[in-house]
């Protein structure tokens, strides 16, 4: 029973700010949803021509391939520092950095914290999938207690490896950030909430308000060794217990 789409209204399509390139992400990986949300935000704010994206090292190392905007691929952990340099050099640009949890909260700890503390007028998307996706599934600073990874084969033992770090809570202790929020993508409602949060984080920058951080609880079906749907449930039922959703700072 073929439907004639020509007679219908297109209500959802690929954002204009995204290229046609196919993602290198695994099936069901939330990195793809986040990319789409960012693309849609750039569309809605009409800022593609003045946006510069910052691709980290991590599964999103190819991020520069997905957006129709200028982009810089940077050293592991240093995206917030590079964003600082870029934005200070050309304040009229809209600069966003896209960073994994290893990138943002482990090797990049200092750069992440101090860019936030300076209140750089940038937007940071912090993808917390509780794992080092790209390098094959090592422990991340956000890995849950008892979670098995290649470097915690018997599960993360807090006695030797400590506890998952809530980095947004850390950023929230600072005076400068205008918006710090933690979002998820495990169901449609969360996706819509997250979309609003990302838009707000970009809008803040457009309005010159300062530093915005959107932490997104993401999945890694491959290294979690779960199906994509199982991974969604895991975020909903387990991960959000450790990383509660919601706004931590909103000085907008």
């Amino acid at each position: 029973m073929p439907v004639d789409v020509a007679r219908m209204t297109k209500v959802f399509e690929r954002p204009k700010s995204l290229t046609e390139a196919r993602y290198t992400y695994c099936p069901g990986c939330h990195h793809g949803i986040i990319t789409r949300i960012i693309g849609q935000t750039i569309d809605e704010l009409g800022i593609a021509e003045r946006t510069v994206g910052i691709a980290p090292v991590g599964c999103s190392v190819f991020a520069y391939l997905w957006y129709r905007c200028d982009a810089v691929q940077v050293a592991h952990g240093r995206a917030s520092a590079v964003a600082t340099g870029l934005k200070r050099a050309k304040p009229e640009l809209i600069v966003f950095s896209y960073q994994g949890d290893g990138d943002f909260a482990s090797i990049g700890t200092a750069e992440s914290l101090h860019a936030a503390n300076r209140g750089e007028n940038i937007t940071v998307i912090f993808v917390n999938n509780q794992i080092y996706g790209m390098t094959g599934g090592e422990m991340a600073p956000t890995t849950l207690v008892h979670q098995k990874t290649t470097t915690t084969p018997d599960g993360r033992d807090p006695a030797t490896c400590g506890y998952p770090i809530r980095f947004s809570e850390i950023i929230a202790t600072l005076d400068a950030p205008v918006y710090v929020t933690r979002q998820a993508l495990y169901d449609t409602r969360r996706i819509q909430d997250c979309t609003r949060a990302v838009k707000k984080a970009f809008q803040n920058q457009v309005d010159g308000k300062g530093y915005s951080l959107v932490e997104i609880l993401s999945t890694c079906p491959t290294n979690w060794r779960m199906s994509p749907t199982k991974a969604n449930e895991h975020v909903a039922n387990v991960v959000t217990q450790v990383f509660p959703l919601g706004d931590l700072v909103d000085r907008g």
Binding site: V3, K10, L18, P27, G28, C29, R36, T188, I191, P228
Partner: protein, 74 residues
């Protein structure tokens, strides 16, 4: 005539199944046919139930889904 419909780009689909789980109308299912990359592609199993709510598309990590809705003033 259904209130909405979707088009899945089979070559982009990675068979993750997230759209299937997300569809409130249970419109979608795995097709059982593999694409060139070897993935079991999702497809509309009950197209008439589709309401064009876009949930599947919002969920699809690979932006393989385009959603259409009946024209309101038609």
């Amino acid at each position: 005539m259904p209130r909405g419909t979707i088009v899945i780009d089979a070559e982009r689909c990675k068979g993750c199944g997230l759209c299937i789980a997300a569809c409130p109308q249970k419109v979608l299912a795995f097709s059982g046919t593999l694409n060139a990359s070897g993935y079991d592609v999702a497809r509309m199993e009950n197209p008439e139930a589709c309401v064009g709510c876009t949930f599947c598309a919002l969920t699809c990590p690979d932006i393989a889904i385009t959603v259409y809705r009946e024209k309101k003033s038609a």
